[in-house]
Structure formats: structure tokens, C-alpha cells
Subunit: 194 residues, 2 copies
DNA sequence: AAATAAGGTTGAACTAGTTCAAGTTTACTT
DNA sequence: AAGTAAACTTGAACTAGTTCAACCTTATTT
């Protein structure tokens, strides 16, 4: 399976496209190979691309004034990642997006994406569906964060995303879940005195 | 200004539409007047509409097993509100959406919205932009919640949404910000011992 | 194979925010 | 205008989760 075939499948799972249309769509993406610890987005620079993960794992995070890192998103195979706000508004990023493992991405830039949307209403539909699901996903995370304890948030995460939970460093997962790495360690090892 | 003119302005601020197109778009919305404390969405029922607020204030919230209410969203004039997840996937809602004041809404249902998107690619573009901005908004909230203390979250909220802060009950704002109403009261009245 | 860096664990002291309970103020109803 | 319900305040006791510091384990580099 070539890099592009993964994205074609992703597309055809979401909208009804002929092979020709699908090929036209994906031909606007470029293959990008990156090494572990390499950055594809950094604060103060505009996020140039929307990135589809063909292989590997990445992490988006912010660093606050005290130097603490907070994980905003993970992405593994068949996920998208960028600094969302920076990309859609084409404004300076606030996040780092870094490879947790060597990775293969398919990248599209903002201008090319705009042309693509204009070229075929189905492509616009694809981005609309993607954005809607992203919004729904983020809202579910907001709800979980508001309604659950640290332990419950961890439980829900491993149930929903077992493949991610086992693949990312614990400090990154802890900060995604809004707790310290020490506290997550205690949850995992059941060292919370009852 | 009629109810529809508010929505037409909202549209034309986001996409380039002729008057005729704008009128076609808004003619698919129905005016709905509701009284304070009335619900437009309830758990276990599918959210039937996307709601544009012409006048009034509403609140979306979930209730957890212990009976605690957590505010997920507010909406005042020129905002949209629904149970987002329920509406886009047409699945049973988990939220209540209730009027905090008598309100005037413009409602579109899921089927009509789908037809509208098919009728004109510009309409699809409008919903794509709306979804993207919604996702970006939600992500900013996730970041604030992960990176800020209760006091900072309150400060940011009153700076960003002063009109909402002064219009909604404090217990509703507290639960939106992820804290108790008692704690928000202490923040506001500077009763935190330093 | 050794050296170093990165990631994870443990316990003790601490604190930001919660819970509870009682009282006060403000807004609706009759 | 009085009565009731809803919303807000205050303080004291508590707890979920943090901080800090030291140690242990696993990866990566030389």
C-alpha cells in the first residue's frame, strides 16, 4: 500500500468519490518523512500544513510561562494534526508539533487546500465533515474534563484510545489528561491510599 | 430589523452571497420563541435543530451521576447553540439546552440543512467555516483549561466575553469554568487568603 | 560495553479548590 | 406587599491532586 492509498481510503470512508476524484485530491499532498524529536510546527511561525499521518506518532503541546508542557493532541496512523488555530486562521502558532517516533506524513498547505475546495464541492464537503467531527471530538473532551476525576479521565482514555495510550510517553499522556506525571504513575500502579 | 436580517448579516460577514442567495438560505429557518427556563434539547432525544440566537440567552449543560450540572456552552445574540454531537451525528443528546431568558431563535433542522448544502456550494462553505471556527474555539478552551488556574480562567473569560459574564447566573458560569459556585464567589470578592 | 540521557516511581509535605452548613440577598409569584 | 424560591456569600474542615526530591529503569549514544 502506497502512502497515498491510506489517504484515499480515509477520503472514501467519508465521502463518495470516483477514483479519479480521489486521485486528484491526494495529488495535492506531498510526502514528508520526519525523524523522532523533529518539529513540524513551532510557536510564532504560521502552521503551514494540514498533516495526515501515514505512519508514526506525533504530539502537539504548548509550554506555559512556568515552562510546563501541556499536551493538546496526539496523532497516530490515519489521524490529522497541526496547530489547528494557526492553520485555519493563518496566524502564528502557539504550539509545538513534534514527532514522538519517525513518521511519514502527507501534507497540504493552506493555499492548495483553498484551491482544492473551490475545484469540487465534494472536497469542500470533506473538509466540512472533518471540521465538524473535530469540533465534536473536542467538545467530548471538554465534557470529560469538566465531569471526571483524574482517575476516570485516565480510564476513559485507555478505553477509547488503547493504541495511543500504549505508544506515547507517560508524561505526555498525563499532561493531555490534565494531571502530573507523578499522579498518573500513582493511578497506574494503584498507589492511591484508599 | 427583522429576525432574518440578523442571520443574513451573520452570513454575509462570513461568505460572499448575493441578496437572493442570502434570502434563499434564511428562508429555510423558522422563528422559534421560547420562555425562560424552557428546554429546546433534552438528554435521550435527538437534537433536531441548529439554533441561531436572535435575542436572549441560553445555556447547554450536562448532569452527571451525582446530579452536578456542568455548563458546556452559553449562547447570546449572534451565537449558535445545540447539542453539537447529537445534532451532527443525529444521535440521542446528552445535554440540556435551556433558555436563561426569554429568547428568539432561528431554527433549521438536519434534513433541511443537508438539502441547503447540496443546493449551493457556498452554503456548504458556510457550514465548513462555522465548523472550523467552532473547533478552533473549543480547542482554545481546552488549552485554557489545561494551562490556567481557576482565577486565571475567570479573568480570561470576563476579558473575552464580558457581555456573557454579566448576563448569566454565577453558578452557571462557575460550572462552565470548571469550579464550584462557592469558589467563584470567593474569587470575585477577593476572599482568597493570600 | 559503558556512559549518559530520558522516562518512570515513590513517599512526604503541601495547596488549590471542594464540601458542607448556615446565613444573606435578590428575583418571582400570589 | 408579603411570601417563597432562586441565587449568592462566608468560613471551617477536608481532599484530590501537586510539588519536591531522591531514586530506579529503560533507551540512546559513543
Amino acid at each position: 500500500m502506497t502512502e497515498y492509498e491510506f489517504l484515499i481510503k480515509h477520503l472514501q470512508d467519508r465521502i463518495d468519490l470516483s477514483d479519479e476524484e480521489a486521485n486528484q485530491f491526494v495529488s495535492n499532498f506531498k510526502i514528508k518523512k520526519i525523524k523522532k524529536r523533529q518539529f513540524i510546527v513551532q510557536p510564532d511561525f504560521v502552521a503551514q500544513h494540514r498533516n495526515y499521518v501515514v505512519e508514526g506518532a506525533l504530539r502537539a503541546y504548548v509550554v506555559n510561562d512556568e515552562g510546563q508542557e501541556h499536551t493538546i493532541a496526539f496523532a497516530i496512523e490515519d489521524w490529522w494534526i497541526s496547530d489547528y488555530n494557526s492553520y485555519i486562521y493563518q496566524q502564528p502558532a502557539t504550539m509545538f508539533v513534534m514527532a514522538l517516533e519517525d513518521a511519514v506524513l502527507l501534507q497540504i498547505d493552506f493555499e492548495t487546500e483553498a484551491k482544492l475546495k473551490g475545484a469540487n464541492p465534494k472536497f469542500e464537503t470533506f473538509f466540512r465533515i472533518t471540521a465538524e467531527r473535530t469540533a465534536a471530538f473536542f467538545q467530548r473532551r471538554i465534557i470529560t474534563n469538566l465531569t471526571s476525576s483524574a482517575e476516570e479521565r485516565y480510564e476513559k482514555f485507555i478505553n477509547q484510545f488503547p493504541l495511543i495510550a500504549n505508544r506515547v510517553p507517560q508524561y505526555a499522556l498525563a499532561s493531555y489528561l490534565g494531571m502530573t506525571t507523578e499522579f498518573l504513575s500513582k493511578i497506574k500502579n494503584n498507589k492511591l491510599k484508599k
